[in-house]
């Protein structure tokens, strides 16, 4: 089978997120980079499916040259091919991103045949537009369902069964492949890269395509921090000596 996974390079902030002086982006001076946990699960799922059914997995990102880091990380986990849709690193709106990704998918499929499944994250970690996957699926005229936490492809029937996370359980969908799915963390437990995987990832060829697409109708003016919740932390004490004070608090809050 052939699987494509789309991932987005994002900063990995810790206790707080700082904004640059021009208010246009997250200040990444002291930060590393990652992808959304949803997308990590998409990568893991692609690797597992290829391990089970054979074929190959491809990872694609639209972003600056540095996003090669996320492609090589995916390769260290077992993804076979990597595609960088290179931009100048400015934030692209969701319509523009989807146009470029859909165009690249068409190019890749014209060369090597269709992807049975294209996996997206449920939403990107930073801008969280909840739409790039839906838009790409629509341009390719493929079925798409978001919030997926279980995927079982069946190559005899050509159907993929997908479970959507809803309050208190799952909804089940059955789609003919090729199909597109937006997945959520919890789909699987992503592996860590092995030393061998890391070494192999250094050697894979990254296909670079210059990203090109018309801008969409939404534009960022600036970023801002939400108002801080005031906190006057009440210290109930230290160590086991604080146990009675903690239980007093339970009584006070009526939770005992």
């Amino acid at each position: 089978m052939r699987v494509l996974v789309c991932v987005k390079r994002v900063p990995a902030p810790g206790a707080r997120i700082s904004i640059t002086a021009d208010e246009q982006s997250v200040d990444t001076t002291h930060l590393g980079f990652a992808m959304s946990p949803h997308e990590e699960c998409a990568v893991e799922e692609a690797v597992q499916m290829v391990e089970r059914h054979g074929g190959d997995a491809t990872v694609l990102t639209l972003g600056p040259a540095e996003a090669e880091e996320q492609l090589r990380y995916s390769a260290s986990l077992g993804v076979n091919n990597a595609v960088l849709l290179r931009t100048d690193g400015t934030a692209w709106d969701p319509q523009r991103t989807a146009r470029a990704i859909a165009g690249a998918v068409e190019t890749l499929e014209a060369a090597d045949g269709p992807f049975d499944l294209i996996l997206f994250g449920n939403e990107s970690a930073d801008s969280g537009g909840f739409q790039v996957g839906v838009r790409v699926a629509n341009k390719l005229d493929r079925p798409m369902v978001n919030a997926i936490k279980g995927i079982v492809p069946d190559f005899d029937s050509g159907l993929v069964t997908a479970k959507r996370d809803i309050d208190g359980g799952f909804e089940v969908y059955a789609m003919a492949m090729p199909a597109v799915l937006g997945v959520k963390e919890g789909l699987n437990l992503p592996r860590y890269p092995t030393m061998r995987g890391r070494l192999a990832s250094k050697k894979i060829d990254v296909t670079v395509i210059e990203a090109e697409a018309d801008a969409g109708g939404q534009a960022k003016i600036r970023l801002l921090s939400p108002p801080e919740q005031e906190s006057n932390t009440v210290r109930l004490g230290e160590g086991v000596a604080a146990a009675p004070a903690i239980v007093d608090l339970f009584e006070e809050l009526g939770v005992l």
Binding site: A15, Q95, L223
Partner: protein, 317 residues
């Protein structure tokens, strides 16, 4: 005044409360408020109470059986073309955002998810990024403005109700859209869920492994609550992902959240911040969770939680 169209979210005829948030929000933007109900379901009275002046009931075989993101998205796109609203609003739930994205894709127009506030007939807005850790001011340039309201950001309030005019809408839907209609359900046994628990006892990396959660389980059981955890825990396979609190886990809102051995990274915090009270238990007095919590105890959770369990048992006799 702009003409507004609101998407009703419902599960086979049972209205989702999120729709009432969307209607409450819509009333701050205009008074001409139509609502789309996908499928032949009678929700007009409920929708009217919250300010709907008109209800379109979309009738089609594909809509009567169950939810389908593509069938709903195509229906919404068709009604937008037909009725030409200025602003289209859904509540930013999983399905609300998905149906809006489907409609926007079909019309090739922008869609702005999870807004907190909009101005100038939705030409400018404040929206949520990073699951709520950051906000974005943005502009929206489009003939019809598709937006969703950040879920739980406002309370639903009933309006001075009139009874809405009801009109049947018959969209043309390709039979092929049945490909994404729900075919079944797997429901868990009902019980206290993480999202609704009155008390959540959370453990982080400092639990040290699956066994480290035993005292937390005991305390949660004593308080009628549930155990939660951080991503460091689920990533190590110590607890299932359904226990994870945070941006990519569950958003909790208990009366009391006890965060033990959790540093309070921003992605964890956004899932916990709606808790009425937070008690942090941590060896580090400068941990973000300690600094932001309402109450804190400095010390070793492996000693403190069992001591609290004993104290609860002692008082109960």
């Amino acid at each position: 005044m702009p003409e507004i169209l609101v998407l009703a979210e419902h599960d086979r005829g049972t209205l989702d409360g999120a729709t009432l948030e969307a209607l409450t929000f819509a009333r701050t933007l205009g008074s001409d408020i139509a609502v789309l109900v996908c499928g032949d379901f009678d929700l007009a009275a409920q929708l009217g109470e919250y300010g709907a002046t008109k209800v379109y009931v979309a009738e089609h075989d594909l809509l009567d059986s169950d939810f389908g993101p593509e069938a709903w998205g195509q229906t919404l796109a068709a009604l937008i073309e037909d009725s030409q609203p200025d602003i289209v609003i859904a509540c930013g739930t999983s399905k609300g955002n998905e149906v809006m994205a489907q409609a926007a894709a079909r019309l090739d127009v922008p869609f702005v998810a999870n807004c907190l506030q909009v101005e100038a007939d939705a030409e400018e807005m404040t929206r949520v990024q990073w699951g709520g850790s950051l906000l974005e001011r943005s502009t929206l340039d489009a003939e019809v403005k598709l937006i969703s309201l950040s879920h739980h950001s406002i309370d639903a309030l009933a309006a001075d109700a009139g009874s809405p005019e009801v009109e049947t809408f018959e969209p043309e839907l390709a039979e092929s859209l049945s490909r994404t209609v729900v075919v079944g359900r797997e429901m868990a046994e009902a019980g206290v869920t993480l999202a609704t628990a009155p008390v959540v006892v959370g453990g982080g990396r400092a639990t040290g492994g699956p066994d480290g959660f035993a005292p937390l389980e005991e305390l949660a059981a004593l308080l009628g609550g549930r155990v939660g955890c951080s991503r460091a825990v689920t990533n190590n396979g110590w607890r299932p992902h359904s226990d994870q609190v945070g941006q990519t886990g569950t958003r909790i809102a208990p009366e009391l959240y006890i965060a033990s051995g959790i540093s309070g990274a921003i992605q964890h915090w956004v899932g916990a911040m709606a808790s009425k009270n937070i008690l942090a238990i941590n060896t580090d007095p400068d941990a973000n969770m300690v600094v932001k919590a309402d109450y804190a105890v400095i010390g070793d959770m492996h000693e403190i939680i069992p001591a609290v369990v004993e104290e609860v048992k002692r008082r109960r006799g």
